[in-house]
Symmetry: none
Subunit: 210 residues, 4 copies
Amino acid sequence: MGAKKKDILIQFNRDIILASARKLFQLSGINRTSMDEIAREADCSKSTIYVYFKNKDEIINYIVYEHMVLLRDALQECTPDNKDFERSYYAICNTLVDFQEQYPLYFESLLSEIDVEQEKIQQPGLLADIYKAGEQINDIIGELLKSGIEHNCLRENLELIPTVFYLWSSISGIILLTNQKQKYLKMRVGMDKTMFLNYSFKTLLQSIIK
Amino acid sequence: MGAKKKDILIQFNRDIILASARKLFQLSGINRTSMDEIAREADCSKSTIYVYFKNKDEIINYIVYEHMVLLRDALQECTPDNKDFERSYYAICNTLVDFQEQYPLYFESLLSEIDVEQEKIQQPGLLADIYKAGEQINDIIGELLKSGIEHNCLRENLELIPTVFYLWSSISGIILLTNQKQKYLKMRVGMDKTMFLNYSFKTLLQSIIK
Amino acid sequence: MGAKKKDILIQFNRDIILASARKLFQLSGINRTSMDEIAREADCSKSTIYVYFKNKDEIINYIVYEHMVLLRDALQECTPDNKDFERSYYAICNTLVDFQEQYPLYFESLLSEIDVEQEKIQQPGLLADIYKAGEQINDIIGELLKSGIEHNCLRENLELIPTVFYLWSSISGIILLTNQKQKYLKMRVGMDKTMFLNYSFKTLLQSIIK
Amino acid sequence: MGAKKKDILIQFNRDIILASARKLFQLSGINRTSMDEIAREADCSKSTIYVYFKNKDEIINYIVYEHMVLLRDALQECTPDNKDFERSYYAICNTLVDFQEQYPLYFESLLSEIDVEQEKIQQPGLLADIYKAGEQINDIIGELLKSGIEHNCLRENLELIPTVFYLWSSISGIILLTNQKQKYLKMRVGMDKTMFLNYSFKTLLQSIIK
DNA sequence: TATGAATGAGCATTCATTCAT
DNA sequence: AATGAATGAATGCTCATTCAT
């Protein structure tokens, strides 16, 4: 069997395990998914999983990484030219909303990710990759803001990097809470999710544009 | 023994258990605190706990409720007269920051609380109380906004209730992220926590005031 | 139920677990005995064991301790008056031989016991008790030697404490090896175990008596 | 490829595996060294190890055998002429002490080796070889004693073969215990390892010389 | 009311060995 | 001869909850 074919097979099995984990994580949460369950779902023995992955964390990190890449790529497409600031801004917001809807687990992981120790980020590996993807996401927003400043459509006293974090955290907070209080909002405010999100994103935008 | 006396005794025992749980939750986190540990701390048997509380969740909910009340009362004091809008706004922000610092556990629970089923909120009980406290917190912010509108210092196209949620979620998001990325912010942005928070709250304020 | 009766019941259950462990340890060795097996043998659930013992080590230590006490008490009876040095010496040797035959596992544990950290010995507990029992065994041999010196039947240049360890280690070594090479001895030397042991103990004695 | 060439290659591969195992055993103990680790160290696949060795035990036995040979050869050099009995005796003691220090793992295996079933020793194989090396070690001590008797420096009532075992077991016991109770001896007896060993070997010698 | 006792279900990880290719 | 892949069987320990008394 050619080396290539073999690699494909390996990847195939890894993928089955990852797919099983992904499915179960989505279904019942990461912590409540046991290695036993992943093995059952992947139709292999528990020890086989340990042939392909060092431990549960490696699986988790891998899947978290996948989703960060997914998000990063989706965000990348929001700012094709950075010419129309507002359009790009709303695209980013909506991409995040979509991401949250599709992958609520990983949306939360974006927010709750603990400050990883510097050393672990330095050495190459999954953790470093996750960190890099996070940086790239920041850069996307950073680039957008930079061009916004260049095109003179943003307030003058804005500081670039802090504003990246300000936007990121506000938007995330809005999406997080909207999702949790969805029913409540409908009942109390009479607004559906989308309406409220649009209202909030529009209002938030006021804080940075002229 | 009179019924009243009995009630007092019951409350007394509940309080001891709650105090023990509170202490241990703060110390080592909710999940890592076992019923065994609570019992040991409360100097009673594990089963005694089950006499006073249905299960661990009831204890958790109770303590979550307590902290919501704490927060609610602290927020109440931020808006003594609602005359100075900005002053009240910053007071609220800072109160939330302080709360997060003192009770990080319960700050997160504010955000991650899952949309409880309507039925459970309807029938009186802890869940309903928690819900009510949440409402009251919303009302505080609502009152502030209302007076802001009356004093004519807010944008005209603001809608009251949605703005309450918008503010609440943005502020929470900002605090959440700041706390998690503290080291990172220091390193990357060169700003310490307080500076970044002030910058963000100030910027956020721009989105609603004239 | 009286406190006494309760204590008896507790002790009863502890004893069942200990008896099961003792039996299985003897049968298949300490390491190869799992907590699952002990539970099965004791006819209780694995978690019940953890109600009565902190962990496997506590069980092991307890049983090791029991056997050290057994040995200590048996040795104590070997030197009723310390008048007849030789008689006491041989009694000690034979007691050790018997102990090895009955409890080979714990005989080895006597020899392989790792130098425990001082701290653990200082604070009261099983480990301290084991240590103390070891000391008492040393003392028994020490007392015997002392009286031997007083009765003027030992070489003059003997140093008390080092000789205690010298004797202890030589006798143990002899018993250990005899047991392992039993068949071999029979075949090669044409001596049975007892004969060889007697020969060795007699020879060893020559090294300390006048 | 000639049969001889093939054999050399096979031996070459076996040696690599053995060297890896030897290194890792020394480093972290036999039990804590996994076949995976040996394979990694030997830069071959785990299954390849099973081509060259039946199982882990065969590897262990082989390495145990190697060390017995090492010891045997070192002991051989202790009795170049058997003229000076005492000198040879001390040389043997010190060789054993050195061996224990360098290869504690295999020193213990000398003592704990279970009485292997006769059948396994009869048929040629590793176990027979180990057995033979043991015999040769006995013979070295035996020869020394014989010449001691011939030179008339030993007690007259000594029996040759039993004395071989007597010495071997006593010396081993002394070294074993000294090593385990090193700290304790220092503290309690105020003697360091070397002093105590010398004292013990000297005392033991008294039991066989005139 | 209070509690001692008991437990089922879970959990991540290890490892020597086998077997088809 | 060489090996990649797969795995069964363990293993020590945790914990919320129940129930008879």
